[in-house]
Structures are given as C-alpha cells and as structure tokens.
Symmetry: C2
Subunit: 123 residues, 2 copies
C-alpha cells in the first residue's frame, strides 16, 4: 500500500500490525554514500516528518529506524512505532516475538491521511 510519493521518494506501509512504514528512493542507491546530497537531505527530512507523525498520532515508547537492504541491495528505511507491550519489545521486530499481539492501536488509515497531509505540506 503506497501511502505517499513525490518526485524522488515513495512511502509504503509494511505488512505488519504495528505502525511500520518504509521509505524508498525512486532511484536505487546501494549505500548511504551513493545518494546525491540533495536527495539525502530530503530523505532525512522525510524520516523526521514520518517520525513526528507517528509520535503525535500513536504516542509510541520508541521509534525504530533501520536500513538493511540485504535482500534488496538498495537503501530503504524502516520506520517503526514501538510499544512496551508490543509482541517484540524490547527486541527488534526482526526477532521472534516473545508474546502475542494484544495492542489496541488507533486506526492506521486515519493516520495515513494525517501523514499524507504533513508530507504534502513539507513538499
């Protein structure tokens, strides 16, 4: 599900019950140091718009950020809202969850609308 896009980036929802977004550059870059300076600045700003929207809407205990790209050797960011009572906490969401999903989070579609508005305003 594409949440937002502009000339250089697109943002999708990761398949998860957690508020978990992925930020992709439209042009593929293998590593951070391969990204042109202006695209990189925009990327960092978009990470913060997403982080701020997640914090304001979900009030998470922590934001997790990661760029791996081992499967797909291109820079893309995972931005995940984490909660002390989510199935994985304090482990990463790549590990086996030690407990069941019992969160009762507000509606993601409503969040996506607010995030899109924030991103449009940023652009």
């Amino acid at each position: 599900m594409t949440v937002w896009e502009n000339k250089n980036f697109y943002i999708v929802k990761h398949e998860s019950k957690l508020p978990w977004l992925k930020l992709f550059t439209k042009t593929e870059y293998k590593e951070l140091t391969d990204i042109p300076k202006d695209i990189k600045s925009e990327m960092y700003e978009l990470l913060e718009v997403i982080e701020t929207a997640l914090i304001n809407y979900y009030n998470p205990d922590k934001i997790n950020l990661a760029s791996f790209g081992n499967m797909l050797p291109r820079i893309h960011w995972h931005i995940i809202a984490r909660f002390q009572n989510d199935p994985w906490f304090p482990k990463t969401t790549w590990e086996e969850p030690p407990r069941e999903y019992k969160l009762n989070l507000p509606n993601f579609e409503e969040f996506a609308k607010l995030l899109k508005a924030d991103l449009d305003e940023y652009r």
Copy 2:
C-alpha cells in the same frame, strides 16, 4: 572498546566478530527529532565517514544501519559491514544465524587506526 570520540560523539566497537560499530551522542536524545540540528548534521556526516571506511577496508556486500534504542531509550546507531557468507546474511544480525562463522576478515585494529585517521581529518 572506544574507537574514537570528540566533543559530541563517541564510537565503540560492538562485541561481535563482524565489523560492527556503534555511534553514540554524548548528550542523550530519545528520538531523531529531539537532536539539535547541528549535532544531527554532524551525526549524519560521521555515519558516512564510518560507512566509507568500512567499505574501503572490508569491501562488504552491504552496510546495515539501525537505530533502535528499545533497551536504552537514546539514539545510537549500529553500523555493520555485512558479507554474503557471514553467519546471518541475508537476515539481520539480530536474528538467529542460519550458519556458522567462517569469515576470514582483515584485522580490526588496523581498520580502527584508519577509521580514527579519517575521523580526525573530518573533525
């Protein structure tokens, strides 16, 4: 093991056979958006100095970057050189490794010296 420090940051080696560094801010910030702009710019530049040094010395298949902070709610970065024949690849290094460690990597202490020189030059 502290590899390097300056006024705002310190860099330590993570306890791992992989080339795995951690970048900490000296002042603690919970989230990306809590970090003052100048410190954040310096942080991104340091990430790139570390990434470049890892690529030049180890020629890894991919660099992994992550900021979780679930255990310790303060921004700190993991910067990891990954290899197709490392125990975890293409999984993250937080997951169970599907194979044994059989890499034959060049000496970390030698790398640390080169990295320090690059960081001193940057500063």
